[in-house]
């Protein structure tokens, strides 16, 4: 059963079409990845889904309910959680307040204590750091707070924009272990990743974004075993 359905999505900055009519579906419980070279619109797709960028055409549906051009707060309330690129933490707030902001909406706020406990169990380091101001954290810790904040919101689908960006290799491994654990626990996940090879053996499904359009979709295994896609992708 498909949870998130995108059809014919177009986004333009001024006269420039950045996203040129893409369609994709993500099933309940699926671990999907949107890959492709930098500057080809991966982040814009996520921003359009969560309402930060305005879709010029196309439709976005969650569980069959249309969300196209809704305000971001309505989209979050509907259950689409977006962990943005570069974390975008609230720098002057403590780790705890950052996490609590994740559960801002009433439904999540009622369940705040239990979710906080869950996040701390998953990311024990944050429990020790909860009074620390977010701007003083290390890159890896910031990423954890960002993901933890997203988990606090609950939601139906978790979108992660380049969770490995700018981290040391050892920290990247930790972050992806976490993402894999989340996927195994049954969460629906959409990851944007520049490094397709890193994600290919984890993801259920890969979508290759090339110049604002979906150039190829398939399983991670197919991606790795298809020499021509591999070559075109690396060549392009």
């Amino acid at each position: 059963m498909s949870l998130l359905e995108i059809s014919g999505l177009e986004v333009a900055y001024g006269v420039q079409r950045v996203i040129r009519g893409i369609s994709l579906t993500i099933k309940e419980g699926e671990f999907a990845a949107l890959v492709g070279p930098n500057g080809h619109g991966k982040t814009t797709v996520l921003r359009a889904i969560s309402g930060l960028a305005r879709a010029r055409a196309g439709e976005i549906r969650l569980d069959g309910k249309a969300l196209t051009r809704a305000r971001p707060d309505r989209i979050v309330a509907a259950g689409i959680i977006h962990v943005p690129q570069g974390d975008l933490l609230f720098p002057g707030m403590s780790v705890l307040d950052n996490l609590r902001m994740g559960a801002y909406l009433p439904e999540a706020a009622r369940d705040e204590a239990r979710r906080l406990d869950e996040v701390f169990t998953l990311l024990p380091k944050l429990r020790d750091r909860q009074t620390q101001t977010a701007s003083t954290l290390s890159g890896g810790e910031r990423r954890m707070v960002g993901i933890g904040r997203g988990l606090m919101a609950g939601g139906r689908i978790l979108m992660l924009d380049e969770p490995s960006l700018g981290l040391a290799p050892i920290v990247i491994d930790q972050i992806y272990e976490l993402v894999q654990a989340l996927a195994k626990s049954g969460r629906t996940i959409l990851v944007v990743e520049e490094n397709a090879i890193r994600i290919a053996d984890m993801a259920d499904r890969m979508h290759l974004l090339d110049n604002g359009a979906i150039a190829w979709s398939g399983t991670g295994q197919e991606f790795l075993s298809s020499p021509e896609i591999f070559a075109t992708y690396l060549g392009g």
């Binding site: 305000r71 971001p72 707060d73 979050v76 933490l89 720098p91 002057g92 902001m101 994740g102 801002y104």
Partner: protein, 292 residues
Amino acid sequence: MDVATQILISGLTLGAVYAVSTIGLALIFGALNMLNMAQGGLLALGGYIAMWAMQAMGWPAPLAALAAMAAGSLAGGLIFVAAARPMLGGEGFETRIFIATIGIGLMLESVILKLFGPQPQAQSLKLEGGIMLGQVNLPWQNALIFGTALLMLVLVAGMLNRSRLGRAIRATSMNRDAAQLMGVPIRRIYLTILMLSGALAALSGIMISSMSGLLPNMGADPMLKAFIICVVAGLGNVPGAALTAFAIGMLEAVIQYIFGVQYAFAILLCLVIAVLIWRPQGVFGQKEVVRL
């Protein structure tokens, strides 16, 4: 000793008045990157509505103050709906909203002028009398101003730090996109901030007019001072603005005593210019790293 007490009283009163109107401006700038140049008009609006409510309507003072604050918050809300909202996210927002609010302030002052006339009037909402502290007279009005301002500051601080709304306001100022991704309806937050700021401006206008009388353009100088306080504190820094307001109030009282009233503002401005050249990002402001 008596001189010191006198300066302390007038400095704290000035600081209190400045603090109340300045935190509103700081909140607006912090969240929207918007300099609300209609603030002067809002100050006058508050002063005149309070006077009118007592004179023409015969309302008791607390009710008159509430009426003024309600009018201020209504005007603040209208500024958001009519001017800020249509241009949010558009090109050159900071410049355009600056100019638009100048226009709105001008209209507000002109309407007040048409309704109440150009002649100076006395503020009716005022306590008479005072108490002697040693050799120095502490007017009840000053005590009232200081008490009210302190109460307001505590209420606003509590709201910002403890309530869900306050967290949302702070989150919006720190990162607009991230706040939206948490489900914060930022337009509603903006509206709330402008209404809150309008109410605080109206209250500050009552305080100012109780000391120096009512005039349609009475808000011009206090507005410039409030902005200067914001700038010295670092634009958008709310606690810094409140602290700086008291510092500037004390400083002004001292300068008034030493150099005379007519030079106080000019000297104050020169000091501020010097401060800004020394610390362009404000005393409490963080040095900003420009990311491209």
